[in-house]
């Protein structure tokens, strides 16, 4: 029974402990002079997973010392096999944000855009995360004056 309680508590902490992290933001020109503005949002995301960190956590909670050593070795191999700068957790698909431009173009039937804000962010739960690229912007609804 106490083990079950501990598991529930641990899981709750993991779920509650999930937090958002902003990596990069870029705000473009905003023009409110050409008509009313309709907001839109494009969001793409990908599953991020830090396997080396997961193995490291596994080695720390492992009951036997041999398993712990094995997992430490796994963490080391994973770390040197996935070398390089990281923003958030690594992903297994580097093309998940490729369609952002075409999605932004599709979002505005008037083809007039302003106030584009590009956000690179993540929602982290330990070694697992959702790696997100979000574009907010406005379509300009041109007013016809006669």
């Amino acid at each position: 029974m106490p083990i079950k309680l501990k598991s529930i508590l641990g899981l709750s902490f993991l779920l509650v402990g999930g937090c958002s992290q902003l990596h990069h933001v870029h705000i473009g020109d905003i023009d409110q002079s050409q008509g009313t503005l309709t907001p839109f949002t494009i969001k793409v995301n990908e599953f991020g997973f830090d396997a080396a960190q997961a193995a490291q956590i596994g080695s720390e909670v492992a009951k036997s010392s041999s398993t712990s050593e094995d997992l430490e070795l796994v963490a080391f191999i994973l770390a040197i096999s996935n070398f390089g700068p990281k923003t958030g957790n690594p992903v297994y698909n580097d093309a998940y944000a490729d369609e952002v431009l075409s999605e932004v173009i599709k979002a505005c039937p008037s083809k007039k855009l302003t106030g584009l804000t590009s956000v690179r962010e993540a929602t982290n739960v330990g070694p697992v995360s959702g790696e997100v690229v979000r574009i907010n912007g406005y379509c300009i609804n041109t007013t016809q004056t006669h």
């Binding site: 473009g28 994973l78 390089g84 952002v100 173009i105 007039k112 590009s118 690229v133």
Partner: protein, 102 residues
């Protein structure tokens, strides 16, 4: 058998991870910006890093020059993506540009 499974799992997990550092979309000045969605061009340039050492550091400049060449009349919209493909003690930095040419 257990070690073999472990090795296989490690090999699978260490394959081809990447990190997208930045992806931004920018739109030109609004007086000129009634998008005529004609030619969308794509440019990708990269730089190989081995243990942090590089010999060719002007890949972004090359991408920018290509953009100017492919869109001689300018652009109305640009999407720049900066990412890294991870590898064994090495990595590849990439810049991907997509643009709507005028």
């Amino acid at each position: 058998m257990k070690k073999l499974f472990l090795l296989f799992t490690v090999a699978m997990l260490s394959a081809c991870t990447s990190s997208v550092h930045m992806s931004q979309v920018d739109v030109g000045s609004n007086s000129a910006n009634e998008l005529e969605i004609g030619k969308i061009i794509e440019i990708e340039k990269s730089q190989k890093n081995i243990l942090g050492f590089v010999y060719d550091t002007n890949y972004v400049d090359q991408a920018y020059k290509n953009l100017l060449l492919e869109c001689p009349n300018g652009t109305s919209m640009v999407n720049v993506e900066y990412l890294t493909n991870h590898g064994f003690l090495s990595w590849t930095d990439k810049i991907r540009i997509k643009a709507v040419c005028l």
